[in-house]
Symmetry: C2
Protein backbone atom coordinates (compact mmCIF):
# COMPACT_ATOMS: atom_id res chain seq x y z
CA UNK A 1 0.00 0.00 0.00
CA UNK A 2 1.09 3.55 -0.72
CA UNK A 3 0.59 4.50 2.88
CA UNK A 4 3.12 4.42 5.72
CA UNK A 5 2.38 4.93 9.38
CA UNK A 6 3.08 8.53 10.46
CA UNK A 7 5.68 7.27 12.93
CA UNK A 8 9.09 7.04 11.26
CA UNK A 9 9.94 4.03 13.34
CA UNK A 10 6.92 1.90 12.64
CA UNK A 11 8.77 -0.37 10.24
CA UNK A 12 11.62 -1.13 12.64
CA UNK A 13 11.58 -3.73 15.37
CA UNK A 14 11.42 -2.28 18.86
CA UNK A 15 14.45 -4.02 20.35
CA UNK A 16 17.96 -2.67 20.95
CA UNK A 17 19.26 -3.89 17.59
CA UNK A 18 16.29 -2.29 15.86
CA UNK A 19 16.88 1.02 17.63
CA UNK A 20 20.57 1.02 16.72
CA UNK A 21 19.69 0.26 13.13
CA UNK A 22 17.21 3.13 13.05
CA UNK A 23 19.80 5.45 14.59
CA UNK A 24 22.42 4.52 11.99
CA UNK A 25 19.95 5.00 9.17
CA UNK A 26 19.10 8.42 10.55
CA UNK A 27 22.80 9.32 10.85
CA UNK A 28 23.27 8.46 7.19
CA UNK A 29 20.17 10.39 6.14
CA UNK A 30 21.21 13.39 8.22
CA UNK A 31 24.73 13.39 6.76
CA UNK A 32 23.28 13.11 3.28
CA UNK A 33 20.94 16.03 3.93
CA UNK A 34 23.85 18.26 4.96
CA UNK A 35 25.98 17.20 1.99
CA UNK A 36 23.12 17.75 -0.46
CA UNK A 37 22.55 21.23 0.98
CA UNK A 38 26.18 22.20 0.38
CA UNK A 39 27.00 20.36 -2.86
CA UNK A 40 23.74 19.31 -4.48
CA UNK A 41 22.58 15.79 -5.31
CA UNK A 42 24.62 15.08 -8.41
CA UNK A 43 27.92 15.44 -6.53
CA UNK A 44 26.78 13.18 -3.68
CA UNK A 45 28.76 9.95 -3.32
CA UNK A 46 28.11 7.08 -0.94
CA UNK A 47 31.71 7.37 0.32
CA UNK A 48 31.19 11.01 1.29
CA UNK A 49 28.00 10.13 3.15
CA UNK A 50 29.48 7.21 5.12
CA UNK A 51 32.56 9.29 5.95
CA UNK A 52 30.49 12.25 7.17
CA UNK A 53 28.31 9.89 9.22
CA UNK A 54 31.42 8.06 10.52
CA UNK A 55 30.11 4.70 9.36
CA UNK A 56 32.05 2.02 7.50
CA UNK A 57 31.65 2.39 3.74
CA UNK A 58 30.84 -1.30 3.32
CA UNK A 59 27.88 -1.23 5.68
CA UNK A 60 26.00 1.42 3.67
CA UNK A 61 24.07 -1.24 1.80
CA UNK A 62 22.81 -2.71 5.05
CA UNK A 63 20.72 0.43 5.36
CA UNK A 64 19.96 1.59 1.83
CA UNK A 65 19.81 -0.22 -1.52
CA UNK A 66 21.32 2.67 -3.47
CA UNK A 67 22.17 6.35 -3.43
CA UNK A 68 18.71 6.97 -4.91
CA UNK A 69 17.06 5.15 -1.98
CA UNK A 70 19.03 7.33 0.43
CA UNK A 71 17.90 10.50 -1.37
CA UNK A 72 14.31 9.23 -1.28
CA UNK A 73 14.64 8.65 2.48
CA UNK A 74 15.97 12.17 3.03
CA UNK A 75 13.11 13.63 1.00
CA UNK A 76 10.55 11.50 2.80
CA UNK A 77 11.84 12.36 6.29
CA UNK A 78 11.87 16.07 5.49
CA UNK A 79 8.34 16.02 4.10
CA UNK A 80 7.04 14.03 7.06
CA UNK A 81 8.58 16.51 9.49
CA UNK A 82 6.94 19.47 7.72
CA UNK A 83 3.60 17.67 7.34
CA UNK A 84 3.57 16.80 11.05
CA UNK A 85 4.32 20.43 11.83
CA UNK A 86 1.61 21.73 9.48
CA UNK A 87 -1.11 19.59 11.05
CA UNK A 88 -0.11 20.19 14.67
CA UNK A 89 0.57 23.92 14.82
CA UNK A 90 -2.81 24.99 13.47
CA UNK A 91 -4.60 27.34 15.88
CA UNK A 92 -6.92 25.63 18.31
CA UNK A 93 -10.06 25.71 16.26
CA UNK A 94 -12.77 23.10 16.55
CA UNK A 95 -13.92 23.19 12.95
CA UNK A 96 -12.14 20.45 10.93
CA UNK A 97 -12.64 22.59 7.80
CA UNK A 98 -10.67 25.48 9.31
CA UNK A 99 -7.95 23.09 10.47
CA UNK A 100 -7.73 21.47 7.02
CA UNK A 101 -7.57 24.86 5.29
CA UNK A 102 -4.81 26.17 7.54
CA UNK A 103 -2.77 22.94 7.43
CA UNK A 104 -2.93 22.86 3.64
CA UNK A 105 -1.75 26.46 3.18
CA UNK A 106 0.98 26.11 5.81
CA UNK A 107 2.31 22.92 4.24
CA UNK A 108 2.40 24.41 0.74
CA UNK A 109 4.09 27.52 2.12
CA UNK A 110 6.80 25.76 4.13
CA UNK A 111 7.69 23.15 1.50
CA UNK A 112 7.80 25.56 -1.43
CA UNK A 113 9.92 28.06 0.52
CA UNK A 114 12.42 25.39 1.60
CA UNK A 115 14.85 25.61 -1.31
CA UNK A 116 16.86 22.59 -0.27
CA UNK A 117 13.77 20.42 -0.02
CA UNK A 118 12.39 21.82 -3.26
CA UNK A 119 15.60 20.83 -5.01
CA UNK A 120 15.30 17.31 -3.61
CA UNK A 121 11.71 17.10 -4.78
CA UNK A 122 12.69 18.02 -8.32
CA UNK A 123 15.79 15.82 -8.51
CA UNK A 124 14.79 12.69 -6.62
CA UNK A 125 14.22 9.75 -8.96
CA UNK A 126 10.57 9.40 -8.02
CA UNK A 127 9.96 12.70 -6.26
CA UNK A 128 6.20 12.79 -6.78
CA UNK A 129 5.72 9.20 -5.72
CA UNK A 130 7.79 9.68 -2.56
CA UNK A 131 5.87 12.88 -1.87
CA UNK A 132 2.52 11.09 -2.04
CA UNK A 133 3.63 8.19 0.15
CA UNK A 134 5.12 10.56 2.74
CA UNK A 135 2.15 12.92 2.98
CA UNK A 136 -0.80 10.55 2.66
CA UNK A 137 -1.01 9.60 6.37
CA UNK A 138 -1.05 13.30 7.30
CA UNK A 139 -3.72 14.04 4.71
CA UNK A 140 -5.74 11.22 6.27
CA UNK A 141 -5.26 12.76 9.72
CA UNK A 142 -6.67 16.03 8.36
CA UNK A 143 -9.64 14.41 6.60
CA UNK A 144 -10.77 11.86 9.20
CA UNK A 145 -12.10 14.15 11.96
CA UNK A 146 -14.29 15.99 9.47
CA UNK A 147 -15.65 12.74 8.07
CA UNK A 148 -16.34 11.32 11.52
CA UNK A 149 -18.19 14.43 12.65
CA UNK A 150 -20.19 14.62 9.41
CA UNK A 151 -18.67 18.00 8.53
CA UNK A 152 -17.06 16.49 5.39
CA UNK A 153 -18.59 14.08 2.90
CA UNK A 154 -16.73 12.63 -0.07
CA UNK A 155 -17.49 10.08 -2.82
CA UNK A 156 -14.56 7.85 -1.78
CA UNK A 157 -12.10 8.50 1.05
CA UNK A 158 -9.07 6.84 -0.56
CA UNK A 159 -9.58 8.57 -3.89
CA UNK A 160 -10.06 11.90 -2.09
CA UNK A 161 -6.73 11.34 -0.33
CA UNK A 162 -5.03 10.54 -3.63
CA UNK A 163 -6.50 13.71 -5.14
CA UNK A 164 -5.29 15.68 -2.12
CA UNK A 165 -1.69 14.47 -2.13
CA UNK A 166 -1.41 14.23 -5.92
CA UNK A 167 -2.64 17.79 -6.38
CA UNK A 168 -0.43 19.09 -3.54
CA UNK A 169 2.58 17.61 -5.25
CA UNK A 170 1.61 19.20 -8.58
CA UNK A 171 0.93 22.63 -7.05
CA UNK A 172 4.13 22.68 -4.99
CA UNK A 173 6.20 21.61 -7.97
CA UNK A 174 4.60 24.36 -10.09
CA UNK A 175 5.37 26.95 -7.38
CA UNK A 176 8.99 25.75 -7.18
CA UNK A 177 9.32 25.91 -10.98
CA UNK A 178 7.76 29.39 -11.11
CA UNK A 179 4.77 28.04 -13.05
CA UNK A 180 2.00 28.61 -10.48
CA UNK A 181 -0.18 31.72 -10.27
CA UNK A 182 0.14 33.96 -7.19
CA UNK A 183 -2.10 32.73 -4.36
CA UNK A 184 -1.90 29.10 -5.53
CA UNK A 185 -1.79 27.93 -1.89
CA UNK A 186 -5.04 29.73 -1.12
CA UNK A 187 -6.79 28.44 -4.26
CA UNK A 188 -5.62 24.89 -3.49
CA UNK A 189 -6.92 25.03 0.08
CA UNK A 190 -10.24 26.49 -1.08
CA UNK A 191 -10.54 23.77 -3.72
CA UNK A 192 -9.84 21.04 -1.16
CA UNK A 193 -12.65 22.31 1.09
CA UNK A 194 -15.04 22.24 -1.86
CA UNK A 195 -13.86 18.72 -2.59
CA UNK A 196 -14.59 17.76 1.04
CA UNK A 197 -18.18 18.97 0.58
CA UNK A 198 -18.03 22.42 2.21
CA UNK A 199 -20.42 24.97 0.65
CA UNK A 200 -18.83 27.86 -1.27
CA UNK A 201 -20.13 30.57 1.09
CA UNK A 202 -18.43 28.81 3.98
CA UNK A 203 -15.23 28.30 2.02
CA UNK A 204 -15.18 32.05 1.38
CA UNK A 205 -15.76 32.82 5.04
CA UNK A 206 -13.00 30.44 6.17
CA UNK A 207 -10.51 31.86 3.70
CA UNK A 208 -11.10 35.33 5.15
CA UNK A 209 -10.36 34.38 8.76
CA UNK A 210 -7.07 35.73 10.15
CA UNK A 211 -4.76 32.76 10.77
CA UNK A 212 -1.33 34.06 11.40
CA UNK A 213 -2.04 35.90 14.63
CA UNK B 1 5.62 27.08 -18.47
CA UNK B 2 4.39 23.58 -17.74
CA UNK B 3 2.04 23.71 -20.67
CA UNK B 4 2.66 22.68 -24.26
CA UNK B 5 0.37 23.31 -27.16
CA UNK B 6 -1.77 20.25 -27.95
CA UNK B 7 -0.16 20.03 -31.39
CA UNK B 8 2.98 17.88 -31.24
CA UNK B 9 4.58 20.04 -33.88
CA UNK B 10 4.12 23.44 -32.33
CA UNK B 11 7.77 23.73 -31.31
CA UNK B 12 9.14 22.94 -34.75
CA UNK B 13 9.57 25.38 -37.59
CA UNK B 14 7.12 24.87 -40.41
CA UNK B 15 9.60 24.52 -43.28
CA UNK B 16 10.87 21.42 -45.02
CA UNK B 17 13.86 21.03 -42.70
CA UNK B 18 11.56 21.33 -39.69
CA UNK B 19 9.20 18.69 -41.06
CA UNK B 20 12.06 16.30 -41.75
CA UNK B 21 13.38 16.87 -38.26
CA UNK B 22 9.97 16.15 -36.75
CA UNK B 23 9.68 13.01 -38.86
CA UNK B 24 13.07 11.71 -37.72
CA UNK B 25 12.23 12.43 -34.10
CA UNK B 26 9.00 10.50 -34.51
CA UNK B 27 10.84 7.58 -36.15
CA UNK B 28 13.18 7.41 -33.16
CA UNK B 29 10.29 7.64 -30.68
CA UNK B 30 8.32 5.02 -32.55
CA UNK B 31 11.30 2.64 -32.66
CA UNK B 32 11.89 3.21 -28.94
CA UNK B 33 8.25 2.49 -28.16
CA UNK B 34 8.43 -0.88 -29.95
CA UNK B 35 11.73 -1.80 -28.28
CA UNK B 36 10.44 -0.85 -24.83
CA UNK B 37 7.34 -2.96 -25.41
CA UNK B 38 9.43 -6.03 -26.17
CA UNK B 39 12.44 -5.61 -23.86
CA UNK B 40 11.53 -3.02 -21.23
CA UNK B 41 13.23 0.29 -20.52
CA UNK B 42 16.29 -0.87 -18.65
CA UNK B 43 17.55 -2.89 -21.62
CA UNK B 44 17.02 -0.03 -24.07
CA UNK B 45 20.20 1.31 -25.67
CA UNK B 46 20.58 4.29 -27.97
CA UNK B 47 22.35 2.06 -30.50
CA UNK B 48 19.35 -0.30 -30.66
CA UNK B 49 17.00 2.60 -31.18
CA UNK B 50 19.00 4.26 -33.97
CA UNK B 51 19.47 0.89 -35.66
CA UNK B 52 15.75 0.05 -35.48
CA UNK B 53 14.89 3.53 -36.80
CA UNK B 54 17.61 3.21 -39.51
CA UNK B 55 19.24 6.48 -38.43
CA UNK B 56 22.96 7.10 -37.92
CA UNK B 57 23.97 6.47 -34.32
CA UNK B 58 25.86 9.76 -34.16
CA UNK B 59 22.86 11.88 -35.05
CA UNK B 60 20.76 10.67 -32.11
CA UNK B 61 21.84 13.64 -30.01
CA UNK B 62 20.58 16.04 -32.66
CA UNK B 63 17.10 14.92 -31.64
CA UNK B 64 17.30 13.96 -27.97
CA UNK B 65 19.65 14.97 -25.15
CA UNK B 66 19.68 11.51 -23.59
CA UNK B 67 18.00 8.13 -23.43
CA UNK B 68 15.85 9.56 -20.60
CA UNK B 69 14.68 12.42 -22.85
CA UNK B 70 13.70 9.87 -25.50
CA UNK B 71 11.72 7.82 -22.96
CA UNK B 72 10.01 11.03 -21.77
CA UNK B 73 9.09 11.85 -25.38
CA UNK B 74 7.62 8.37 -25.91
CA UNK B 75 5.60 8.70 -22.70
CA UNK B 76 4.42 12.18 -23.60
CA UNK B 77 3.38 11.24 -27.14
CA UNK B 78 1.43 8.22 -25.91
CA UNK B 79 -0.36 10.23 -23.22
CA UNK B 80 -1.23 13.00 -25.68
CA UNK B 81 -2.66 10.48 -28.12
CA UNK B 82 -4.88 8.94 -25.44
CA UNK B 83 -5.89 12.33 -24.01
CA UNK B 84 -6.87 13.58 -27.47
CA UNK B 85 -8.90 10.39 -27.93
CA UNK B 86 -10.58 10.71 -24.54
CA UNK B 87 -11.76 14.26 -25.17
CA UNK B 88 -12.90 13.71 -28.75
CA UNK B 89 -14.79 10.43 -28.61
CA UNK B 90 -17.20 11.47 -25.89
CA UNK B 91 -20.80 11.06 -26.97
CA UNK B 92 -22.35 14.16 -28.49
CA UNK B 93 -23.69 15.76 -25.38
CA UNK B 94 -24.03 19.49 -24.95
CA UNK B 95 -23.41 19.62 -21.21
CA UNK B 96 -19.71 20.36 -20.49
CA UNK B 97 -20.11 18.54 -17.16
CA UNK B 98 -21.15 15.31 -18.88
CA UNK B 99 -18.33 15.67 -21.38
CA UNK B 100 -15.78 16.28 -18.61
CA UNK B 101 -17.05 13.31 -16.60
CA UNK B 102 -16.89 10.91 -19.54
CA UNK B 103 -13.48 12.15 -20.75
CA UNK B 104 -12.01 11.76 -17.26
CA UNK B 105 -13.24 8.18 -16.81
CA UNK B 106 -12.24 7.17 -20.31
CA UNK B 107 -8.75 8.59 -19.92
CA UNK B 108 -8.18 6.86 -16.57
CA UNK B 109 -9.49 3.62 -18.03
CA UNK B 110 -7.40 3.61 -21.21
CA UNK B 111 -4.13 4.70 -19.59
CA UNK B 112 -4.35 2.34 -16.63
CA UNK B 113 -5.23 -0.62 -18.87
CA UNK B 114 -2.33 0.08 -21.25
CA UNK B 115 0.36 -2.02 -19.56
CA UNK B 116 3.16 -0.76 -21.75
CA UNK B 117 2.29 2.87 -21.07
CA UNK B 118 1.80 2.16 -17.37
CA UNK B 119 5.30 0.70 -17.22
CA UNK B 120 6.70 3.82 -18.88
CA UNK B 121 4.84 6.02 -16.42
CA UNK B 122 6.38 4.17 -13.48
CA UNK B 123 9.91 3.94 -14.88
CA UNK B 124 10.40 7.27 -16.64
CA UNK B 125 12.75 9.54 -14.73
CA UNK B 126 10.11 12.19 -14.16
CA UNK B 127 6.96 10.27 -15.03
CA UNK B 128 4.57 12.42 -13.01
CA UNK B 129 6.01 15.66 -14.32
CA UNK B 130 5.86 14.48 -17.93
CA UNK B 131 2.30 13.28 -17.30
CA UNK B 132 1.20 16.70 -16.06
CA UNK B 133 2.86 18.59 -18.92
CA UNK B 134 1.37 16.23 -21.51
CA UNK B 135 -2.19 16.25 -20.18
CA UNK B 136 -2.61 19.86 -19.06
CA UNK B 137 -3.67 21.27 -22.47
CA UNK B 138 -6.33 18.56 -22.74
CA UNK B 139 -7.57 19.25 -19.22
CA UNK B 140 -7.84 22.90 -20.23
CA UNK B 141 -9.84 21.92 -23.31
CA UNK B 142 -12.25 20.04 -21.02
CA UNK B 143 -12.56 22.87 -18.48
CA UNK B 144 -12.81 25.92 -20.76
CA UNK B 145 -16.23 25.37 -22.39
CA UNK B 146 -17.85 24.93 -18.97
CA UNK B 147 -16.21 28.07 -17.63
CA UNK B 148 -17.19 30.10 -20.69
CA UNK B 149 -20.82 28.99 -20.52
CA UNK B 150 -20.98 29.60 -16.76
CA UNK B 151 -21.68 25.91 -16.09
CA UNK B 152 -18.40 25.62 -14.11
CA UNK B 153 -16.96 28.06 -11.60
CA UNK B 154 -13.59 27.61 -9.87
CA UNK B 155 -11.45 29.67 -7.47
CA UNK B 156 -8.51 29.74 -9.91
CA UNK B 157 -8.38 28.15 -13.36
CA UNK B 158 -4.65 27.34 -13.37
CA UNK B 159 -4.72 25.81 -9.89
CA UNK B 160 -7.81 23.80 -10.83
CA UNK B 161 -5.93 22.45 -13.86
CA UNK B 162 -2.94 21.53 -11.67
CA UNK B 163 -5.28 19.75 -9.26
CA UNK B 164 -6.88 17.95 -12.18
CA UNK B 165 -3.70 16.67 -13.81
CA UNK B 166 -1.84 16.10 -10.52
CA UNK B 167 -4.66 14.04 -9.08
CA UNK B 168 -5.11 12.11 -12.35
CA UNK B 169 -1.46 11.14 -12.24
CA UNK B 170 -1.76 10.01 -8.60
CA UNK B 171 -4.94 8.00 -9.20
CA UNK B 172 -3.64 6.29 -12.36
CA UNK B 173 -0.36 5.40 -10.65
CA UNK B 174 -2.29 3.96 -7.69
CA UNK B 175 -4.45 1.88 -10.06
CA UNK B 176 -1.35 0.61 -11.88
CA UNK B 177 0.31 -0.29 -8.55
CA UNK B 178 -2.85 -2.04 -7.31
CA UNK B 179 -3.25 0.55 -4.54
CA UNK B 180 -6.50 2.18 -5.66
CA UNK B 181 -9.99 1.14 -4.51
CA UNK B 182 -12.40 -0.33 -7.10
CA UNK B 183 -14.30 2.42 -8.93
CA UNK B 184 -11.47 4.93 -8.48
CA UNK B 185 -12.11 6.31 -11.98
CA UNK B 186 -15.73 7.02 -11.10
CA UNK B 187 -14.87 8.65 -7.76
CA UNK B 188 -12.21 10.79 -9.45
CA UNK B 189 -14.61 12.00 -12.14
CA UNK B 190 -17.30 12.74 -9.52
CA UNK B 191 -14.77 14.65 -7.42
CA UNK B 192 -13.65 16.71 -10.42
CA UNK B 193 -17.25 17.77 -11.14
CA UNK B 194 -17.64 18.86 -7.52
CA UNK B 195 -14.37 20.77 -7.86
CA UNK B 196 -15.74 22.47 -10.97
CA UNK B 197 -18.74 23.69 -8.94
CA UNK B 198 -21.41 21.16 -9.97
CA UNK B 199 -23.97 20.43 -7.22
CA UNK B 200 -23.90 16.93 -5.70
CA UNK B 201 -27.39 15.97 -6.90
CA UNK B 202 -26.33 16.72 -10.46
CA UNK B 203 -23.04 14.85 -10.05
CA UNK B 204 -25.05 11.82 -8.94
CA UNK B 205 -27.40 12.13 -11.90
CA UNK B 206 -24.53 12.45 -14.38
CA UNK B 207 -22.70 9.46 -12.95
CA UNK B 208 -25.80 7.33 -13.50
CA UNK B 209 -26.19 8.13 -17.20
CA UNK B 210 -25.33 5.27 -19.57
CA UNK B 211 -22.22 6.25 -21.51
CA UNK B 212 -20.94 3.20 -23.25
CA UNK B 213 -23.84 2.69 -25.59
Amino acid sequence: MLEDAPSHRASHPEGRVGRRRTRTRQQLASAARTLIATRGISGLTIGDVTEAADIGHGSFYTYFDSKEALVDAVLKDSLQTLAALAITIVPEHEDPAVRAYVADRRFIGTVSQDHELARLLVHAHEGDHVFRAATLPYARAVLTPGLESGRFNVPDVDVTLLIGVGSLSAVIRAIVDGDAPPGADRAHAQSMLRLFGIADAEVDAISQLPFDT
